[in-house]
Amino acid sequence: MDYSEAIERISRKFKKSGNEINREKVEIKLRRLIEEFGVQPAEAERSVSNELAKEFNIPPASPQGSSGASGATGQKMIADACPGDWVTLEGKVVSLAAPASPAIAPSGIVADESGAIRFVVWTKSNAPKMKEGAWYRIESAVVDEYKNIPNLKVHSGTTITEIDKTDPLIPSPVPVKDLRPGIGSVRAKVIQEWEVTHERMLQSGILGDETGTIKFVIWKELGIEKLVVGSVYSVFYTQVDEFNERLSLNLTGATIMQEEGDLATITNSDAEIRGAIVHIAPGSGIIKRCPVEGCNRALSRQNYCPIHEIQPQFVYDLRIKGWLDDGEKTHNLLLKRDVVEALTGINLDQAKEIAENNPLGMDEVFLQMREKILGRYVACKGRDIENRLLVNSCKRMHFESGDHTKLLNRAGGAS
């Protein structure tokens, strides 16, 4: 079992308060709890976090201690519920999901006019069975945080009563750039679809509106359908995840409605940038990728994958990372295999041949490709994602005599 993600989450949590964790110790603790004591991974993570919080003298996230300060169990709007609060709220159950563990009764999403939050009902709480679409008053529940996402915990001290309310709740979509971890609603267009990297994954890609773009994923579930590239959708109550300070949407379980018409997406989509390639970064050329399904990470020279360790049955691929400079701004480029092949004239088979029959090996491919494209003028089209241009097409520029004439006039004309 691999713990690096959990460790990373814990590490980031404590970095916020300026504390550095000892990763080895954390891993030993997690391993011990999970492997030796059969603790659920999420619970082990929580317990290690709490232990560390005590060590660093940080007040714990959920227990009663903080409730006094945050106004006991005053009734709140969902949008105002912060981790650590004891809350009472009224909301509509807009989604119910199958429990991930027998110890947990249903989880789902409860919403009011201000927003929505995921909730989990513990079996021990003896809560009444909740129905999708009904309104409830939830008294004395606890807001905690799991993977940076606020979560409403219904425990034995919580009272749930169905209330007589039938308001049709219409969530208002927020601009993509204003999404926050938790539950959100957007109206966006499917800009791109990516290769599915896992057998349980139905679809992944990019959604965008006029304010930004965001990755999305849909996991296979009964009755769930793929989105159509180029179409606009309203997505209600989708889960907004955060990983490595980047957001993504998990649309599984969200209410998705296809919309009529088109939507202007952010202007940098499919932008063309012209300039000179001023740098080719290490890691360009021919690379080896991890063959484990859904991984696809670039391997080190020793065929080592950061997650799956040594992988002798690697898969070759081509890519180029570099900088394109137009004299005013420098753009970080990432070229995929087909773009690399078209631009350098070296295809994957030829690159393999060079790498396998040359004393410099893979370096030789890097050098040959660098000689062919470094310092050249190119026009690149692609999508700007997190400050990196994912290039769909990259062509050498040519001398335009029309531009030449215009410039002669411009230089000579005004003097």
Binding site: E245, A276, V278, L374, G375, N387, M397, H404, A411
Partner: protein, 199 residues
């Protein structure tokens, strides 16, 4: 903490790489003013172009006409790259091993594309020299040189136009540092450079 922050911003890509300015040899040669942006040891150094823009890096394409290997223990290469307006002095030392090896391989004369950092030196006789520390150098074809000429002409004319009406700190500083700058001469230089491309 600040070191960690800058490292974080580098990792998520918000770190901005300094763009490579396009400048003709005869303008670069006129540079007399160099400054640092910030107090930090690692703050970037800029030369101020006479047409009113700071430059930490330049991209040039021209003919490598000469290269020499110098030094005994600390080997470095010097070279001259010629464009239609004059000569760029380039160098690559042991701190740029990649660039040095690239330079070692190139046979003169050849069209080369160079990315590098301009530096201002005072020679022993008191005169100034602008030399470009090479980050990368590759052999290119004539078409690339011609595209560069158009590109550099465009950027230089843009700067000249901005100079007459602009009020950016760099322009104000340039007017202060280069009081004798003659816009007409620079425009003429651009025209002459363009005229060297045969139609």
């Amino acid at each position: 903490m600040s070191a960690r922050e800058s490292e974080m911003s580098r990792r998520d890509g918000s770190f901005e790489r300094e763009p490579a300015r396009r400048v003709f040899a005869s303008e670069l040669r006129e540079c007399r003013y160099q400054f640092k942006d910030g107090e930090d040891e690692k703050s970037p150094t800029f030369v101020l172009l006479p047409t009113g823009e700071r430059s930490n890096r330049i991209f040039l394409v021209g003919t490598l006409t000469e290269k020499t290997r110098q030094g005994e223990q600390n080997i470095f290469y010097r070279g001259r790259v010629v464009d239609p307006t004059g000569t760029f002095f380039i160098m690559a030392g042991s701190y740029q091993p990649e660039a040095m090896q690239q330079m070692a391989k190139i046979e003169t004369p050849a069209f080369v594309a160079v990315t590098g950092k301009p530096n201002l030196y005072q020679k022993t006789d008191g005169s100034n020299l602008v030399s470009v520390r090479v980050e990368s150098i590759t052999v290119v074809d004539k078409e690339t040189r011609d595209i560069w000429l158009l590109d550099t002409a465009t950027r230089t004319l843009d700067r000249i136009d901005a100079l007459t009406s602009g009020t950016t700190p760099d322009i104000i500083k340039a007017k202060e540092q280069y009081p004798t700058l003659d816009v007409v001469t620079h425009r003429r230089m651009v025209y002459d450079a363009l005229a060297q491309i045969k139609i």
